[in-house]
Symmetry: D2
Subunit: 442 residues, 4 copies
């Protein structure tokens, strides 16, 4: 008989792991984990040791019977797991830095989940996640795959289309971040806020927003476009919007919409940042070094507050909340990436969407949205097409398919520049893109 | 009893009119026009006289009993008309020049049917066309409205949504131009070529292409991406495509796709052109002056060959072919702008699309396409949303709606730049945008 | 400031009212009703007095500050109501008896929510409910209309299409009855059962069934088709199904499916019943007389157990559960009749469906179903078409539309018999069908 | 190089063959058949000889170089064929007689394309047609399969879903029969009539009807419901409709709609007919015997006029017209059974529908219909579900699937009667249903 819950966390050496461990500790009462397997690859062994030992100290301090295993043997970790969480990064932060630097040379956004960077992170990640899926089919066919690895939309699409694992959920902290921002804006407790989310990962809209079930969308949009709130709004939304635009749009945006509705300014800002403080990967690399120094401290037995600067706020909460709701068939509402099943009209039935769902033991059940507002339909379709064709390129290793994916991306200024960027990035990421190069060699 | 066919041509003073007249003359046998009413406004009176007299001479030379009327009284022209054709330009070429010049200042495409220029041409044109529709309801409720006025997609959308005239067809010479280009590329007679067109006006794709009913799409795509054909392809397609991109896209594009898949290069090219030879409107203004000089020649009684440089090739053929097929219930296949009626999945049922149709006396019946290829779906949706919201702005005169339309246009780099362009263009076109300014004054 | 919750119950003199009152008493803690207005018409005055006084005694016994008002003034009851519940019956049980008797003469099912009876109950009820909606617009525009009046599907469709009241929910006790039956079949507590319901009112299917979130559909279908359970199954499902049929259908049916999948046997059974014990209306008339005798007892201050024989089990629970969840924005899952909004593919976006929804203060949000199983799609469409056209006939008073509705109903054997039945029933219900007769007189 | 057109006609010994041969002769100019292979099975050898020799005499009389081959070797006939036509009947007219007789015993329609008979004809036919498809893949992969074998809807559905042959068209003479009837009703030449057909095989509606392109639907419906025309209408439509019903339905029906909108009367009529003159199969058996006697006459070298009594009027014209249009890429409009491709909303994209199509060398391209009228949607869905599940039963040999198909058929009065009919018919057709019995024996 099954003794307790087994979790396998792929990319367990991530600096985020203490967040996740904290989440499991906090919700132990309703979600009693008995085994937590942190898996990593050879190159991440040292980090795994450091963060894994911190995890063990955290569990010990909490006085809970959670067994933390550190391993490089993925199959051992997957064996009979109940939940598999993925937070790995193929090529580590070095690869991310390339995703960010190279496009900027061409005057194109360099970002790890959008545009060329998003595509190449997908091309590197999808073969690995599909390999994990194949192992899961064999070793833990009933487990849920909870994916945090970006680009979460393209990755979830790839799992749905190209693997036999149907129990997959993609998770992102963007929606919860918007909820928190709105709660702050309205100065009400987060628990009283509900938002009807719909769209795609990093392209999600809040179609309506409620306090205690009563719509306050008009008020929120007024506040978001009130010049007196501009510094606050920039904090939660990026550069701040033209009031008239956002009033006519009449839905809540997410921070990543800045890349699409403020493309030129965002690239200019990123060029300046890259020049001065370095790209985000480069900044994070420094933060991570500091974090791992902290993690090494044998007296540290809690998640250090400095982790919050790393980004990924509310990540722990979102992740463990989701897993707990699945485990307990809670039937509460959470926004996740799952198969559309008709919830958003004009997105294919079998494509991944990010949408408010009822979370059940049988998985997320999307709440029907009908059609998206006219003004956002096209952009959402465009990113969905990008995700689908990007996933296809990742699986087939077909150069032209990758070129097509990038050319149709709305952040790409032309087919020719797409080709130049792809050629340089293919070369730069060569070791992590065997599907494209093994063929050439053959 | 009805004696013969009456045509009312709004914007009859256009330099294109001899094309149209030539078309009616050529097809007189199957489409016996008895009255052709050329209508224009006071400002176009002189041109109307010149071109109208040429039209009379052409008819006389052909020896046909077509009565050509020149008038500034639109209602007299519409009274009991069978077909109303519209080829007017609100604000004349001066307005077009502004549509082209102003956006370029902001590093944005200046073009009269796409991006900011397309929006403002729509904002100026739609109120006029809806006014014509109101007159038609009263004066010729059974007539067909054949619209050539650009942006034909947005204008057709507006007529379908905001008027009671349901007998409307939008016509464009782009599809016939693609057919001609393919015929030349394959060196076969045009009559043997069939293309399955689907998409939107100036955003239409050739989903398959046939010679004598046999698909030759693969061959055409090979030829289009063959470097040996590059100069030919540039001629028919603009800048020429990355071969890998077009192979993966796997459908035929139209010349206007250059603006979307080669945005940066097109703007650079337009900036250079504007600097050197002037914008297209400025070039055309010179051509028109020359053309009207020619038209004045009392000995001229045919369409002068110089008209072809004006652009709009095959226009006469496409227009009269369409009207003739409606009149005779020919049930042949032609690509036109009409209500979707489910032909293209994921475009609303009641929106305008450009699609191959069976042309009947009861109007065009679109041939079912199913869904568009994944790679093009998003862009098409985006332009459809732009058209719908642009049409809404034109009707309501709501500033924020116009700002929304422009911001979601894929050629617009940001909401902030959208606002700057709109503010400058609103001012520049003020006299032709009463719906936006009368309110402010009120 | 609002002092408490006001409920207006149209048809308050119904024998069901004690159920509803019991429900409000039980849930008072989370749903503190301060005013309950029971409204009825002149003809129901005596019953209203009897049942209203019982309601007062029940409230008094419970020691709760709920003010029970008895009135014939509907507008006074509606004024500032928070929830309006409707349980009236136009023409009382006498009309129901005609709905049941007349079709049987033609060998057609006589039943008050299906076939000819369902149509005529709709024709009588819809004008009244739309009249209530008009009053609500004026007197309590923010109230929720909770409709229990049958045919609930056609009535909800009519409100959605032909009134301005959008806050409407149709409620039925069939789904909760299925849940209870399954709980009994599996011998588990009802609270552990979840069923994914989808379809239409009295035409709802259980697409999957879970215990503690784990699907047990296969087991339930095995039990339902196990000959050892046949007497139990007949109890909850009617006549019992052919095992092979229900196995291939592979979803749970509702008792009303017997009319469609066992048409001949059901009519035969009803003919025998009508001969022997009388039709259901005639049986209920006797039950009601007895019930009202009981209700008169001034010592009675609880819902008498005899009410359960009346039918409508779990009605109180379903109704008050729904209202309480709306009021408290509970976001729990309940099957109700609401606008489809894309939840069930191939049913129009704006039609009423019966589907599992998240119940929020903003109303029910349907959970996306995708498409119904192939085998049930057609029947569901057919009933939806019947409901739509029936609602149209009720509103327009057009005879041919009523004839069309009945002819396309799957229980009708021919257009000719449809006409004969309609002619006889129109005459029989004449006084309650002014929309059909006032015209004739005019 | 290909010398001429080769036709393979499976079931070449049919009494219909002279019709087909006449058609090829008449259209020889535009469709020059060089080889006509008539194939049959051993049991049909004698008929094949008789009708084949008549075919040879007809060709000889016409003086055309068409080579007529008679063979029992299907593979030889299929080898390099350009068109394969199928008109075979598994089990011959004896089986049809069972399809007609057995259901009547249970008070259910006995007809070879609807209800139980339609199901069993499908169960017998589909395995054979799929076997032909497998041969075609190997022997003539580029050929078009033109299927006339009933139930043509279920058979076309099966080929689309369960074979690799995509070049398949199902053909029926019902639409052309309706056109002819309307022409007669209006007293205009058939060539001037156009009808927009949409629906399914033997369940097709005329959504609009035109003379010279002008809608005359209202007039046609008035004539069809005019009591003065009743005897004429009965001739073309069966029993004649209730005027109010057909006016509200507001589309043209086909004769087979009598089974659905006049179920009871049709069964009564069929019971009487079966008693008196015999079922249709029994009548046809006599006609066939007489026809083959005629065919034997060595002096007969034309299609004898007596064939017309056999039914299947216009069959030759419809069949050869279709094939000729495909061959010549005529792009004319014809109603055929083909993949929906979105033409009819709410019918699956990949299901067979009967709809007006543009006939091209690349196959039929359906003209977009949008959604069917509300009143007919349900019935059409129901028959489509019946066809799909029937086809699945034919392929899998699963008893319960067959039971499901029959139970959901609108002509079936209950699951129990469905089972009784299936059990008797399975036994009666045992030798032609190996897919159901080989399993049982195994």
């Amino acid at each position: 008989m099954k003794k307790g819950i087994k979790i396998a966390t792929i990319g367990g050496g991530s600096s985020y792991t203490p967040e996740l461990v904290e989440g499991f500790i906090k919700r132990y009462d309703e979600f009693p984990v008995s085994e937590l397997w942190l898996v990593d690859i050879e190159a991440g062994k040292e980090k795994l040791e450091i963060v894994g030992n911190l995890a063990k100290r955290m569990v010990e301090k909490a006085g809970l019977p959670i067994n933390v295993h550190l391993t490089l043997d993925r199959r051992a970790a997957l064996k009979d797991a109940d939940f598999v969480t993925t937070q790995f990064r193929v090529g580590l932060l070095e690869a991310r830095a390339k995703d960010e630097r190279i496009p900027l040379k061409y005057g194109v956004l360099g970002q790890e989940t959008n545009g060329p960077g998003g595509l190449f992170k997908g091309l590197r990640t999808i073969p690995v996640i599909l390999d994990i899926c194949r192992d899961m089919e064999e070793l833990c066919p009933d487990a849920w795959l909870i994916n945090f690895t970006n680009p979460a939309g393209m990755v979830t699409e790839a799992v749905l289309r190209y693997s036999n694992i149907k129990k997959v959920v993609g998770l992102c902290n963007v929606p919860i971040g918007i909820e928190m921002g709105v709660a702050k804006l309205l100065d009400v407790d987060h628990s009283r806020i509900h938002i009807d989310f719909a769209g795609l990962n990093h392209m999600v809209y809040g179609l309506d927003v409620y306090v205690d079930g009563v719509s306050v969308k008009d008020k929120v949009i007024d506040l978001l476009t009130d010049p007196n709130n501009s510094s606050f709004v920039k904090n939660i939304q990026g550069l701040g919007w033209e009031p008239g635009f956002i009033k006519a749009l009449n839905v809540l945006t997410c921070p990543y919409h800045n890349y699409y509705y403020k493309t030129r300014e965002m690239i200019e800002k990123d060029l300046v940042n890259a020049e001065n403080e370095g790209t985000r990967a480069e900044v994070v690399q420094k933060l991570e070094t500091e974090l791992f120094e902290l993690y090494k401290d044998p007296n540290l037995n809690i998640k250090p507050p400095q982790l919050e600067k790393r980004g990924g706020a509310y990540y722990s909460d979102a992740a463990v909340r989701l897993i707990t709701s699945i485990y307990n068939d809670k039937r509460d509402i959470q926004p996740v990436n799952t198969m559309n099943r008709g919830a958003i009209a004009s997105i294919p039935y079998d494509s991944a969407v990010e949408v408010s769902c009822v979370i059940t033991k049988d998985g997320p059940k999307p709440i029907s949205v009908g059609d998206l507002p006219v003004a956002v339909r096209g952009l959402v379709q465009q990113i969905k097409s990008f995700e689908r064709i990007g996933a296809e390129a990742a699986v087939t290793g077909d150069y032209n398919t990758a070129l097509l994916a990038l050319t149709i991306n709305p952040l790409t200024p032309s087919d020719k520049i797409a080709k130049e960027i792809i050629d340089e990035m293919m070369e730069a990421h060569k070791e992590h893109l065997p599907q494209f190069f093994s063929k050439v060699e053959a």
